[in-house]
Amino acid sequence: MKVERKCKILSKEWLNHDAVQLVLEVGDMVGESFRNPGQFVHVKCGEGLLLRRPISVCSCEENEQGDRLTLVFEVRGEGTEWLSERQVGDTLDVMGLLGNGFPVKPKGRYLLVGGGIGVPPMLGCARTNGGKSTAVLGYRSKDKAILVDEFQADCAKVLLATDDGSMGYHGFVDALVRQELTEDKNYDAVLACGPTPMLRNVAKVADEFGVPCLVSMEERMGCGVGACLVCVCDMKDGTRKHACKDGPVFDSKEVDWDV
């Protein structure tokens, strides 16, 4: 099995001052290793940095001429900075697809919750569900909003929130999740990706309404494949699982939210 591939950048767009969208040509990667939306790739960011950077798959497709992968990432530090400086035609060293994403069923109806840079992987979920899902998307402010048009195209309903009220609901996504579930809790599951405090709150709300909830956890990674045991995620039962191999998506009830 091949896990590491040189992938060409087919397109690059800046979505705002910090967020970049790349479309990559990834050979047979999707066909070989796609399981479900919410998986991630592990990207080498230049010679000067030892560790790869995990980036979630935003969306992907198999293709005769080479599978396609869309990544959306935010410039945070040296690695993502380097990545954001790549140009169309450049080649990236990508390992993937890795991990277990959200086990969405094509016939399911989901409440998709994304916060900040946790928004992109939810788009993949939206797209496997033929427009039946509802999306709740939260951003720092209006100028940080990304992919809203895309979600509107692929969801039955899109609710927006910003921390500063510059767009949509003034506040956090968990309030919108509560509002939505109060109106309609006929969802197969709540699926969420974003900062840990957000995930914790969303999980709590889902739990109150008795709706299953799956969350995608962000942990610092080494190998990305389950061998080095650094990407630890504490479970309620006292065990420590690994985001790259056992996750990054976990059942919110299994996660120990108190650490």
């Binding site: 030892l50 560790l51 610092r220 080494g222």
Partner: protein
């Protein structure tokens, strides 16, 4: 003379914008096998403990039989969940880790992981850490009965509070652990893994040699720290962790050189190896074989790259066997 000067120099005008092809190399075959404390491996490249799990993950990408040996993830007598996260931080050409020996315990290894590894034509080295000499003894007994190829006694893990590090920094404790391990390991060779966080590593090496160790491996990680300047928190939840990766290579080469001059038992060299040249340095410094760890995270195929690079270097130097590199450095 004059005629010579006027002779045309280049017979044809090549395209100067592309690099001319290199002359073809016809490299002779090299015997890549090495023998470390009686254990013969098909090549000198081992994967370092804790960076390769029990082989299952990387085994999806290539045949584990390509490797010389596998140092399995560090085992303890009982299952351990290890330290809380974050457990990794990146540093210039290095990483810090504070995994803290998360592992299923020695019995689970013997029952579940060893049979998996035994499917492959590769030497299996079990790596053990204990809280007391007795624990080391019990583990050695179990592992020697189960039939591993070698036992690597870790007296140098900087990521566990009890035992670990102290054994590695005090010669008399290191010797004691070694003696107990040897007494319980039966015919399985015992290799002791040394800590670089010491004033004089040869003292410890001599102590464990005196206590009967069949080999030493070095270096384990150097203790380091990284701070998130915005949160003002250490990135690692344990505050400090062990430094590995290319950054430590020169320290590792120096220590391998010192140790191999101080003891007669063979050395497994590691610390920062990511290419054939690094491995060749380590062998010239005195290592019989080498281990590759952190380099895996940048490139899962790193051990194979190191092996192929080493073979090419040996062939280019006209060596018939890669083992001819060992100890070949000529100090000034």
């Amino acid at each position: 003379m004059c005629k010579l000067i006027l002779r045309p120099i280049r017979d044809e005008k090549p395209d100067r914008s592309v690099r001319p092809a290199a002359p073809e190399e016809n490299l002779p075959p090299v015997d890549m096998s090495v023998t470390l404390a009686g254990m013969t491996m098909k090549n000198p490249v081992v994967v370092a403990s804790g960076t390769f799990g029990f082989g299952r993950e990387y085994g999806q990408f290539y045949d584990l039989s390509e490797l010389g040996g596998i140092c399995a993830k560090g085992l303890t007598l009982h299952r351990r969940e290890g330290n809380p996260g974050p457990r990794i931080a990146e540093t210039p050409m290095g990483i810090l880790n504070s995994v803290g020996l998360q592992n299923p315990g020695v019995d689970a290894f013997i029952e579940t992981e060893l049979p998996f590894l035994r499917q492959y034509d590769v030497k299996v080295i079990a790596n053990i850490s204990g809280n007391s000499p007795e624990e080391y003894g019990i583990m050695c007994e179990k592992l020697s009965e189960a039939g591993v190829d070698m036992i690597e006694v870790n007296i140098s893990c900087p990521n566990v509070k009890a035992g670990g590090l102290a054994y590695g920094t005090r010669p008399e404790l290191a010797a004691e652990v070694t003696e107990v391990a040897k007494a319980h390991a039966g015919k399985v060779p015992v290799m002791v893994k040394l800590s670089p966080n010491v004033t004089d590593i040869t003292e410890i090496a001599k102590a464990v040699e005196g206590a009967g160790a069949d080999a030493v491996s070095l270096i384990n990680t150097l203790r380091g720290m990284r701070i998130d300047i915005n949160t003002r928190r250490p990135i690692l939840k344990m505050n400090t962790g062990g430094l590995s990766g290319p950054a430590v290579l020169p320290v590792a080469v120096r220590m391998v050189w010192e140790v191999s001059n101080a003891v007669k038992i063979p050395v497994l060299g590691m610390g920062g190896i990511s290419k054939g040249e690094d491995a060749a340095q380590m062998m010239l410094a005195g290592a019989t074989a080498v281990a590759v760890g952190t380099a895996l995270f940048a490139d899962p195929y790193a051990p194979l790259t190191v092996r192929d690079g080493l073979e090419k270097i040996a062939a280019r130097q006209g060596l018939s066997a890669v083992s001819q590199l060992t100890g070949g450095v000529k100090p000034w």
